[in-house]
Each structure stands twice: as C-alpha cells, then as structure tokens.
C-alpha cells in the first residue's frame, strides 16, 4: 500500500502513558535489586525484553535516555564513582534494534542537538520511522558544557552548572535551546523535502523520481546552513514525533514552538495548572493554538502491592544508595491504585499524559504493566488493545501536510 494512503483511526482514550527507559531504572541503587540485570545492560536482549514488556501493557511509547557524556552525580563532568551504573549505548540504535521485534509501541530515542549534525539526526529518525513503519519519535536534548571537549569544535567560557546562577549559565542555556530550535526546524524541513509521491518509477520516461517533488530546504541560521534535500524519502508519519523534557520557561517556549509532546515535572496539582497554563500561553503566542500539543508529566514510580511494601522497597533502595533518593521529577511511592488516583487528578488539572520513570527495572515497569494499566482500564480511561495506527495517530496528531507540496502541480512536471 502506498504510504500516503494509509489512514489511521484516532484513539478514543484521552489518557496517554509512556515509559522512560534508562539503564536499570531511575533509582541509583536499582542495579543491586534481585531481578535487575546490570550485567545484561549492553545487550540487545535486555532492551528487547523491556520494550516487549512495555508493549504488552499497551503503552503509547517508550523513550530511551541517552547522553554524549557519562552519567554523573555532578552536573559538570564525571564523578569517578564506581558504585553506580555507568556507560550507555546509542539510543537511536537501541530503538532501531528493537523496532523489528515490536509491532505497535512507539519508539522515542534521545538524540542530542548540540554537537551533532541536523542532517544525520534527521535521517536517523526518518529511518527509524521507516524501519518501525510509523512508530518513531525523538526526544530532543541539549548538551552539558562538559561535552564540549568531546568534540573540541566550539569555545565555551567558564560555565558551571554547579552554580546555576553563576556567570554564563543563562546565556549558555539560551544559546543551546535556540540552537535546538533551529536544529528541529532543519529536521522538520528535511522530513518534508521529499513529497510523499516523489518516487514515480516512470519506465516510459526513465525517471525514478519526479524532481519537482524534491525540495532543497536552504536553511541558514547562526549555527549551521543546510541545503537539502534529505537522502531519505519522507517518513511514513510525515513528521515523526518530536518531544522535549522541559523544566522552565525557556524550554517551555521551545516546546510550544517546535514540539509535539512536552514532558514537564510539576510537583502538585497547582503546579500542574501553572505549568500547563504557561505552556498553553506560549503555544498561543507561537501561533499554534489550533495544533495538538501534549503536555505530559514525568513521574518516577516506585510501586508495591501495598503502600507499606512500596515504602519498604524505597527504604531498602535508599539504604543501599547511602542517601535519600532525589529527582527533578515528582517521586511516587505507593500502590498502583493510588498512583491511578493521582494521575487522573493531575490529568483533570490539564495534563494529557505521563511519562513514567520506573525506579527499578524490570520491577516497576512490570508493576505499571501488570497493575497500573489494568487499574486504569477498570476505570475506563485506558485502551484495551492497540489500534493499527501510527504513533502520531495514537496521540491524536494528524499526518501533517507537506510544507513544500504544491496544491496545483502541473500534470506533467517539468523535466
């Protein structure tokens, strides 16, 4: 079937659930739990099993964390610790490796915009969309200053994230998010640089493509110029899902202008209202009021069959870690049923979904799939099966028109 004619019925369930996969889980002592598999962390099997579990829970998508630097407890570089998980595989390649083994779940790897090439990332995400037949997304991320010397291509003044109010931090953040915005713009243009029907295979004229349906993108900005067209035909979704973790006004505005999903970290219902209001205002300001933009909350989840069991787990993990567990996102410790209550309350305050961060893998992922999802289904707010639809369609996002397509193309394109 030609890609352009696939139509996907939209999902009728309003609550969206994603899971954020990071190493053996988001708790620093997670790797020491009985069922954790830290020795398998760098194998394909490990990731395939996790994503298969997430798919068995009918989740919307998984994200895969990544970074161009080692994990650290310090914001400015490695901490030299040997008691924590260190090391990562490339997230885009993990997602690609898992794609042929799954059928429905969305695959949203992290890719950094700071030292990388927009042309490379755009074609990688487009290819993930081809390989997964319309399930690809991208979590956009900017670099920390410590990553500069891994590339050695730009001068950065003395920026220390240890002192967030220190000199240069605001300028650094502004500059890197502005670059990310240009980066996403280039990727979106490259995805559109091929019209859906560019490949014509016209034996009569010997033309494989109609070059009138291929477009240069001619982007010129402060950080790069990119001519295009891309080398990858337009991805099945047209535009793969663009997502972003945001902790403040600057990234909210970037998300409001460029993203399809923003992950936020509110800590209570009032916070949810404030964050959502700010993002919706930014969305309006960006002229995207009529566009579907999801605002998710990230929640670290540490679950138990009873509240006491969950707290006991939390206490054991804290003891092993040697310090209390902290996170940028709210941490939920308790039962699946209580978690469902909170998620639905916060949803009523304006959120459209959640990206749950399992504290321990596979334990808390299995609890999400085995306890939270059935609880949400009992309450009639979550799907009971996957519809055969793209990731965008599942999130109620239309397949976007191509910005370069001409409405009234001559019957025969110029040769």
């Amino acid at each position: 079937m030609p890609r352009s004619s696939v139509s996907f019925p939209g999902s009728s369930y309003p609550l969206h659930l994603a899971v954020a996969l990071d190493g053996v889980g988001w708790h620093p002592a997670a790797w020491r739990e009985q069922r954790a598999r830290p020795d398998a962390l760098f194998t394909a099997r490990y990731w395939a099993d996790l994503v298969a579990t997430a798919e068995s829970g009918l989740l919307d998508f998984v994200t895969i964390e990544d970074s161009l630097s080692l994990q650290s407890t310090l914001p400015d570089g490695p901490d030299g610790r040997i008691d924590r998980v260190r090391g990562r595989l490339d997230a885009v390649l993990i997602a690609s490796r898992v794609a042929p083994l799954t059928r429905h779940i969305g695959l949203v790897p992290t890719a950094t915009t700071t030292h990388t090439e927009p042309f490379h990332i755009a074609k990688a995400i487009a290819t993930l969309d081809h390989v997964s037949e319309g399930r690809a997304g991208w979590r956009v991320q900017v670099s920390r200053p410590a990553e500069n010397r891994h590339f050695g291509r730009r001068e950065v003044g003395p920026v220390s994230l240890t002192a967030p109010e220190g000199p240069g931090v605001r300028a650094y953040v502004e500059e890197h998010f502005a670059e990310a915005e240009d980066f996403v713009e280039v990727a979106r243009r490259l995805w559109d640089s091929w019209e859906d029907d560019a490949e014509i295979r016209d034996a009569a004229t010997g033309r494989f493509v109609d070059r009138a349906r291929l477009h240069t993108i001619d982007f010129e900005g402060r950080w790069f110029r990119v001519r295009g067209p891309g080398i990858v035909p337009r991805p099945p979704q047209g535009q793969p899902l663009v997502t972003l973790l945001a902790h403040g006004s600057l990234p909210y505005r970037l998300g409001a202008r460029s993203a399809d999903v923003i992950y936020t970290t509110p800590h209570d219902e009032d916070d949810v209202r404030a964050v959502v209001a700010e993002i919706r205002a930014a969305q309006e300001e960006a002229g995207r009021a009529d566009t579907t933009l999801h605002v998710f909350a990230d929640v670290v989840v540490l679950l138990g069959e009873t509240r006491a069991a969950a707290e006991e787990r939390a206490a054991r993990l804290a003891e092993r870690a040697g310090e209390p567990f902290t996170s940028d996102a709210p941490i939920f410790v308790g039962t699946a049923s209580a978690l469902a209550d909170t998620l639905l309350e916060w949803q009523r305050a304006g959120l459209t979904g959640y990206r749950l961060r399992p504290a321990v893998l596979p334990d808390d992922l299995e609890a999400v799939v085995g306890a939270l999802v059935p609880e949400l289904r009992r309450r009639g707010v979550f799907r009971g099966s996957y519809a055969p639809e793209s990731l965008r369609a599942r999130l109620g996002l239309p397949r976007p028109a191509n910005r370069y397509a001409t409405a009234n193309r001559p019957a025969t394109a110029a040769r």
């Binding site: 090391g87 074609k123 990688a124 050695g152 033309r207 291929l214």
Partner: protein
Amino acid sequence: MTEPAQPRKRIILGAFLSGVNHHTLWSAPQAGSQIAFSSFRHLARTAERGRFDFFFLAEGLALRERLGRVFDQDVVGRPDTLPVLAALAAVTEHLGLVGTLNTTFNEPYELARQLSSLDHLSGGRAGWNVVTSFDAFTGQNFRRGGYLHRDDRYVRADEFLAATHRLWDTWAKDAIVADKETGRFLNRSDGDGGGDGGVGAFAFAGEQFDISGHFTTPRSPQGRPVILQAGVSPGGRDFAVRRSDAIFSPFHHLDEAREFYRDIQRRAARAGRPPGAVKVLPSASFVLGDSEADAVERHRHIARQQVTGRTAQILLETVWNRDLSGYDPDGPLPDIDPDPDGPPVIEGRARIHQDAHRTVAEWRQLAEANGYSLRDLAIHVFGRTEFVGTPQQVADQLDAFVQNDGSDGFILGSHLTPTGLDEFVDRVVPLLQERGALRTEYTGATLRENLGLPDPTPTPAQHPTP
C-alpha cells in the same frame, strides 16, 4: 590457470544492496523497494542462508545532481546506514553488518559510540567501511560546509581512525563487574585511555582533532569493529594497510588483481601487520544461466538495460565534465576534449577517474581497438566484475579467482533489489560448499572471528602519545 599448491582458501562473501547507481534495474517487474525494511530483511536473510560473511551498505550524503538538478534516472533515496544495520541485527544471527561512513562529515566521539553500540547490539557483528571526502557539494548539508582541502582528507581520515581506536580502547574488557553484593559496578575508577583518569577517560590531539574527556560506551564484543577501506593510489594503499582489516580491490582481471593482492600483502607486512590480517575484496556481480549461451545472452540484456543511451552519456559526463546529451549513444565517442576544471556537470558522486585527459585518451584507444560505440564503451568501462555462466561455471570462476590470489573473496551485488541474490544462494553456494570453498555453518562468534582476523586487543605501543 594453474592449480594452486596451497590449501584451499575459504572464500569471503559480502552481500551488497545496490541502491543508488545505474546497476539497479528499478523498472524491472520484480524490482522492490529500496527503502522498505522488508527489502533489507530479505537480502540479509538470503545472505545469511548462503553463509555470507557480511551485509554491506554504501553511503551518499547528498542527492546526486546533473547541471544543478536532482539526477532522476537511477534509484534516488536511501535509508540511514546505522539504524538499518541495527534493525537487521534483530532479524539475523550471524551475518556481519558493515556500513560505509564518512570521516569528513562525522566526529570521532559520536561515530565511535554508534559503531560500538552497533557492535554491542549485534553481538559482535559490526563493520565500518571508512571513506573520505572533500566534496564541497555534499558539505552544503553539514555544519562545516566544504571545509576540508583535498590534500587533507587522508590526514583527517588517519587521525579519525586513530581517535576512534583510542575511544574504543578506553574501557578495559573487565571494566564492569556489577557485583550486587559489594555494590561495586565498575572494577576501578581509573581508566587506561589517558586524559584525566576515570573509566572511559581519553585524550587525543592532532592536526584535525583536539579532544578529551570520557567515552560513554563499554568495550564491545569485537573490541573494535572490523574496518574496511578502499585504496588504489600508493598513498591510499599505505593508508589502508595501516589500520584496516579488508581493502576493496577495483581490479577485475586476474593478472591485475594478483599484482594488487601481492602489493597489499607486501605493504601490510612492511606496516607490521601479521600475514592474513588484511583481506582483499573486490566488488563483483554475477549472471547465471541454464547454459553458457543463455547466461551470456542474459548478461548482454541486463547490461543494455543498465546502461541505456541516456545513462551512457551521463556516465561519460562524469569524466568529460561536459554536457554530452547531444551525442548519439550508438555513435562514436564525443570528439571534444574533457573539461575537468569547468563547473561540475555531475555533483554528489565519487570521481573514480582522477586524470580526465589521460582517461579519455585511453578510452579512445579502447573504443577504436574494439569498434565500441559511446554506449558500448560505457558498458565496458563502468561495468563491475561480472561472473557469467552456468552455476557450475560461476562457482569455478569465483573459486579460481580466489585460489589464484586474485582476492580473498567478493562483495557481491546484483541488478535486482531485493531478490537478486536468491538464485546465487540457491544454485552457486551449494557448489562452493561442496568443494570446501565456502562454510556450511558459521563457526565464529563475531564477524572478526568468521573472517579469521586476529584479536585487536591493543598493546600499549599502539597508542603512542600524539
């Protein structure tokens, strides 16, 4: 040909998905998608069924253009190399996965972690065909534009490889202990890679790179992915033997091929590489028939379809660098001189022939001696190594080429995506297996082991301080 005295060499085979070039017959009824993952899966599984060593993908980082417009006659468009190879790792078990990746429009830190990740995710089956570029046209798609001077492309590639090797070696084999009882995840906090210490620490400085910090990815199953390179000029050959595990050979005829093979072995030995450490692999194609006459006729037919009159003009334009659309493909060669220094007629494809005037002079002689038309000449000079005959004849030809040291094997393409390799695996592979020239089962755990390459674990001498 004489019977070789040495024990029979096992033929190394790679499968090449012909995409963006005139060899692919996209208008044939059996021609499939060059983008759909199902095409890649079919070809890779076919290659694995035939016990091939690896699957191979080429690269092109800009759509080709002619006279400033996208070139529309051949297949246009391809997926990104690394994600496709990672996905193929999920649908194959033993097949090596080799991607062509450019040292000019990538940075060592990012590419080293991608290749290491592919090696982890495939259980030790990753390979990298290293290519260099100085093409300002392609540069228009990248941050630094056409920044690299032609004379610096090997400097950059050499430093790029040295840097990636250093990054791959930063994590010791036993760096991760993951002992739940003691709470020790890493073996120790210091690393081997220099820099300011800690696991993954590295520093590398040269003309092209000044980088340091910490590498994110633990040592992969192969330690280092298998490295392939092309190198024809003396400088290119010396560059290739230093760091690569296999070299493409452009030579089709046994005499030339043997001379190249011997030269590579000599240069490799001089560079301190152990015997057998550098394999020689020409790209090749095949046409089978039920009889020899049938195969020859099929070959002729396929070649005429691949090189249409229009395609012939364009192939010659890559050397003439002039608009040749007014010349009759069935007539004599264009009577005008090439214009190598003029504005480029064709953009975005590698220039194989560096001296246009000399090449044209040679072609004129060739055409005169054989009575070639413009199109005949294009078919002749732009063809790949073709093995044509019955399955038995093709098996004989391939085996003789390798046993007589024309190469160590072949990277095989076909004119049909994705089913072109099917008949080779069905009809030729069993014959090669019968005579012991091809494995019947995979014996190695990694691509490196299947290719019979030595363990690349570094010795300190291999990482002198730059």
